[in-house]
Symmetry: C2
Subunit: 247 residues, 2 copies
DNA sequence: CAACCTGCCTAACGTTCGTTAGAATAGTAG
DNA sequence: CTACTATTCTAACGAACGTTAGGCAGGTTG
């Protein structure tokens, strides 16, 4: 299924789209197929040779899922990146599903841990909100493949695995809401319900993983700054804006 | 591949995740698996009996791709929704790829047509920007499955088909940029490059298709209104806000 | 009536999938 | 050297995939 629509008929060429599919990559803000690697063996560069095999498998799987989606990725593709055979993967992971689950769990846990630290910092509410947004955006730009998958491949999880991930997500949202509630009394804060604001904000910031391009027009920090300003203006609509370095 | 990881070993149950996967649906702002349909034959409700067969196939394919992705959807699933056999689909479409391409082309063309009309209206720049944003958001909420697919399944297109779709996209962005450039001279408008603003705006509005839920907390029109206000505050950062009906 | 087109069917092809069983290889410890 | 563990390999299984060939029913047209 991965190449040339995979299963063919009786061996004859299909009528349309036999050209197969180029590997995809993020370029210029949208998911686009990438040109075939210029050097024949660029793949190997992507895998950290010093990492453990399970980590390498996770990394390769992450990259491939980012490109093709969980259903569109094959165990044989992961194996090819590591230059081993597909069967060998089963020494380290019991199934394809477990690779996805492992990845999503680690990602969700790390994201949650960061937000917990911000909540525990004891800083004033508005500062916490700013840090929370910066953390969310920076995470989604720096670990953009993992973050992208964690959002888009929820549908590919087993029901039990999904429930585990959703627990982490709900916890994350709960903390975010509590920060927003702390802001509610502040000067000029929007009267919207926390769940609604949180949904809008997180959606926007999460989407960053879908279009951000390292080495692009903006650095991760600049994106975080812009989104924070954006949220700030949206969430404190009646507050006069003083500092604004236009450019 | 669609059910229970598809291909099994020697017939024995795999070690993890044998439970299979529930159909996915958008709920509460994220892509979540849906509980199995309460009535046994709810599927049929989704297909307009008065539509032509090709239209029904497009509709069923659209829905299934929205749930499982292009790679995760099978021709046999489409056929099952229409209560026919998979082979029969090939009387109407030459390939699976063509169903996706048809859908994306129609969607991109309709989106572009709307923006062209706004540009041709001859209204002042800021009004055009507002209408463009409302149009984009309303389109992505009202036709959210088509819109979602058009964004997420670019990677599943054949190179030639991709180029066709990208031409439409570039045209759309070009028009949007021209509207933004017209706004540049206006009072207090941000000094950012049009391409950067456009990217941020379109990304945010496009993401709507990923989380909007009809029958949810907000109507499509309310979402459009909120996003327009959001953009407005972001893009006219130094302008005093007069009308603001907090709620 | 015959000829034809439309739309669906049955049956199957060849490929690829996730996965398993069991042998082979390399390195380490006794 | 032997025994053992860790890791990869070869070979294959059965299922599901996209797709094709060819036939059959029903309506329309000559």
């Amino acid at each position: 299924m991965a190449k040339g629509e995979g299963a063919g008929g009786t061996g004859r060429a299909s009528r349309t789209g036999t050209a197969g599919r180029a590997g995809a990559a993020v370029r210029a803000g949208t998911l686009l197929p990438a040109s075939p690697s210029r050097r024949s063996d660029r793949n190997i560069q992507l895998i950290d040779a010093s990492a453990s095999r399970p980590e390498q498998i996770r990394a390769a799987g992450c990259h491939l899922m980012f490109l093709h989606g969980y259903a569109g990725m094959t165990m044989r593709q992961i194996a090819a990146l590591l230059q081993i055979k597909a069967a060998s993967l089963y020494y380290h992971f019991p199934s394809k599903q477990e690779i996805l689950f492992d990845l999503m769990q680690a990602t969700a846990a790390e994201l949650l841990r960061g937000l917990r630290e911000i909540l525990a910092s004891g800083e004033p509410p508005e500062a916490q909100l700013e840090q929370a947004i910066r953390w969310h955006v920076l995470f989604h730009t720096r670990k953009r493949e993992e973050a992208f998958i964690s959002h888009s491949e929820l549908r590919s999880l087993t029901p039990e695995n999904l429930e585990t991930i959703l627990k982490l997500r709900r916890e994350y949202e709960k903390i975010f809401d509590s920060i927003l509630r702390s802001c509610q009394r502040a000067d000029g804060f929007t009267g919207e319900k926390p769940a609604v604001i949180r949904n809008s904000i997180l959606t926007m910031c999460t989407a960053t993983a879908g279009w951000f391009s390292p080495g692009g027009e903006l650095t991760a920090e600049q994106v975080a700054e812009k989104l924070w300003q954006f949220v700030r203006h949206g969430v404190f609509p009646q507050r006069a804006v003083k500092d604004h370095s236009a450019a």
